[in-house]
Subunit: 333 residues, 4 copies
């Protein structure tokens, strides 16, 4: 492999600032520019990484040497940024969710396809060894036919409070698992039933439970919550399990293998997603961005086609609709 | 406390044979008689325990010295036995589920109330330290208002095959968790939506997933399966979690703390339900029967009133109905 | 089984007060008397349980109707109490350790044997399903010849501070595991090497590590600490593992299956040792006392002969000696 | 960063073949040559990766364009290869252990220092998020003064049988933990006592237990075994824990978060060390090699200085000596 990919990052919040650092450290990437509507933040990240700082994404995209961008903006700003990046001819790594509803997601995909740029959606679980190996264990020749599949994602209420109206439990958390379930089950969700609850007053749903049907006959169970008290060990828990006619597999991310014991209590730490070790960010997120860089440079396909990422969005719409109406909803694709 | 309770056991399958042994060992119980339609089995258990053996429950119930019976028959035979025991004036410990449908359950309760005999339903989780302490942790002053509650019970397909048409996933497994959820949430389920799947051909549903609503506004998530391959560690897994406005609690029975490693693989063992140690059956089941014996002798109330056990059955009926019709069902009480 | 055992409890600290409550609840026991040098404490426990309260153990032992006593005093007071109870002809349940050194332990055993009273040492792990099933898994026909065995017991520094000079890490914690290792390995420890460390200034060793040899050729590893910060989940952790020529087994008590999540952090709870559920103390300690009551009444042997308990004490002496001298020590029996 | 590092791999066994694949995939490395005394193996790996194949390491080292090599040979062949690579002016990544005894290790270090080549020893735990974060948690300002530290590494007997006389439990497994303990405790081991056992007849010790002292006053406990039955979940278990005067931390690699359930049993999978996902080897080993490549190219220091790796070897010698003599041994540095 040869050459480096000249990258930029649009949006420098929790994820964007990590994208910037990972690109800055990656041997095949060169971080050229970063951008945030908060000028001070843009300047700070630019200073740390040696990249140029912008407060306007169009200015960043106008850089002719820039080859690729990560878009790490709030969900509702994905469309404008993605369309602008596509128009500018840059390869795009768009942080999940693809968009905040299916219609928008389809417009983004159309624009990208029309422009011909490379396009990948940042589904980090596609790079988590636990999820990927569960996908392997669920290969038809090992698992047989899927019977049922369940996914759980539990976060803390501080996240719901922080995000407020900028995202939702379905599009912030849920998209991970809808994608993972369809990927691992090798089938798409066709029908859903959901119930939600709002008691904490965070401006978001506290939790959403759902039962779904897959095109291949399997049933699914979904458990999303960001109502957990902030003292939840590691700040989150996720699990996924799939049972087939021949075998089964499950993953449980509760135990990260690391415990810190103080007089006040026992806590954990992230050992998989984006642990900061030896002065760099390692783990799943670094592997995801490394894949984007290398596959973009080499012209090879990304591990996930963006049409699979697109497949998750109408399910989220259907879940939101069912939770609103109280009756089952068909997934409209 | 003084005196001993003269007990009998009707039905000597997996549970009944354990009831017999536990009574035979209990210092405040005297196992007087056992009964099974399979005469050889009755004779075997009678021989081991020193009790009289019967192949007809009415003959057993005719023993004037008998004070109390455990009924451990298949679900559909509960009514006949319970009514006969009530008519004979015996205190009754009826293995869960109370009955195989709500109408039958109500008839049993009516007959028991008319007869005036003591009556307890064998909900073993009421004696499991993990579930009981989760109940304590969910006290309103600690938990606040319940937001969501989830229960999971995963068994192996060998159980589904063994039981065939004599029970069902809802009445064999599900009744545990419906009771536990209503007990721990301090509220009853009012509305349900369920989906089931049958691919293994065991003569039973393989799995059932459901989303439910509680009277107090909380939502619930249910995950029942006995489609797991027979090599599932410990033969089962169950979890329960509840999140409230102030705190949360969860239990996970996956790790029993015990591992046996052989060349062929790593397996576990039961350290809670009915472990056989030091020549006797210990654990939750022994505690349940001990409670029945002591509270019956002392005249004190059982930890669970049978009307709470009754409250679980219409939920099971509603779940079965929704799984059949594909639309939500109201719980008819 | 018939009749009840009239019991008393001498020493009403952490363990003694639990013994009293368990006897008071047990159907085959009658708690007749309790005793503590702190008169107020004796009166309080007497009031709760309906027993007579004493501040002098000799007065308690003078009760003619009393048949059995639990001795739950600090280690150095075991001898006086045990000899007095033996002289008074009472069956004895002596909380571990048998004594605070081997010479004293031997004197107690001699006195008991001369008196002819029943005698059991309270080794609770003999009633813990995890340890007992590991013992079963280590049966020679399953395990083959033991190769190595390891035991770990980790407590919090608050315990070391509370006990001060009244016990030691070896006699308070270590006796559990020395007994368990010799029991499960079916062999006695013959030689030891230990190192200790004292940095916290609790008046006790913070920790002691040791390597030991068994008579059957196996090697052993011991890890004792009560230097853990007080926020250690569940307040303690213990593990044991044994590997043999044919198979292996291990137990890990870290995960109790129960988690309480609050804003401040995640904590656990005791689900095995002495959980208080449904208004009574359940678990291992209750099973231990129940065994003492029933075996005493029936005249059957206790699950552990007191000579096995005695076998642990010279090992503790040797460990203390090696930790002092810095060279290996032979176990003198 | 710019440019690529032209690398070669000497020795193509379990580790060497992985090194070759990782270099072949790495964006900043170019795998130029591989070498194995087994000509067929060298040809196979060369074919897969596009590198040149050699059966003589001197021929490989004679390639002028080659800049760096991984040496993945059996322990006793490290010296010849390292000296030759140093003489040839190549940067060296030497798989652990540095050497099979302290005298050899010192000769290697001297030769490397004389030659002036870059030199790193492959201590993979320095790249494992669990170990690295435990190192961070043990920083003096968080942990206080170390009191005690314990490390455990349990492997399966198949490994002992496979390696035979080519390595030993101390140099194959133990070197990991000696390095980790000294690194995390910020202190060196000065005195050791060890016992070993050999019952399985694999040509290696089955297990070695040790108690050690650190220069800073802390005590250490070591548990090495490769006597576990081959069915041990995941094939290995490792743990490490450190307790200080202010706080404590522990890691437990037993739970990898992944479970595959079949009729025959439940098994796991590697999610940390070298999981193969998305067509490449990810995890700790890939991070280690990536660090070697990037730090070599940039001229920055490696995360571990080779003198720290050297510090582990005399401890292994002392452990072997103590296990042989049965008395404590001083570490000679």
């Amino acid at each position: 492999m040869s050459g480096t990919l000249k990258t930029g990052v649009i949006g420098l919040g929790f994820f964007g600032s990590r994208h910037a650092r990972i690109y800055a450290d990656h041997p095949a990437a060169e971080l050229v520019a970063v951008c945030d509507s908060d000028q001070a933040r843009a300047a700070a990240v630019a200073g740390e990484t040696g990249a140029q700082g912008f407060d306007d994404l169009h200015a960043l995209l106008a850089l002719p040497e820039l080859e690729a961008v990560s878009i790490c903006l709030p969900d509702r700003l994905h469309e404008e940024a993605a369309l602008a990046a596509a128009a500018a001819g840059k390869a795009i790594l768009l942080e999940k969710p693809l968009a905040h509803d299916a219609a928008t997601a389809r417009r983004i995909v159309e624009a990208v396809e029309k422009s011909g740029v490379r396009f990948m959606v940042g589904h980090i679980l596609r790079f988590d060894p636990r999820y990927v190996q569960t996908f392997y264990a669920a290969a038809p020749e090992r698992l047989g036919t899927p019977i049922h599949i369940r996914a759980k994602r539990s976060g803390i209420r501080a996240t719901a409070q922080r995000l407020g109206a900028s995202s939702s439990i379905l599009f912030y958390m849920g998209v991970h698992d809808i994608d993972a379930m369809q990927w691992i089950a090798r089938s798409r969700i066709s029908r859903v039933y959901a119930q939600k609850v709002e008691l904490l007053g965070t401006g978001n749903e506290d939790a959403l439970y759902a039962v779904v049907n897959f095109e291949n006959g399997a049933i699914g169970n979904i458990d999303y919550s960001w109502a957990w008290p902030d003292g939840l060990m590691n700040g989150f828990r996720s699990t996924l399990e799939i049972v087939g006619t021949k075998s089964a597999a499950y993953l449980d991310c509760t135990d990260q293998g690391l415990y810190v014991v103080e007089d006040e209590g026992t806590s954990g730490g992230d050992t998989h997603l984006w642990p900061e070790i030896n002065g760099r960010i390692a783990g799943d997120l670094a592997d995801e961005l490394g894949h984007f860089v290398q596959a973009t440079l080499s012209g090879k396909p990304y591990v996930q086609h963006y049409r699979e990422a697109l497949d998750a969005i109408p399910v989220l719409d259907a879940l939101a609709q069912s939770a609103q109406t109280g009756v089952p909803a068909e997934v409209v694709r």
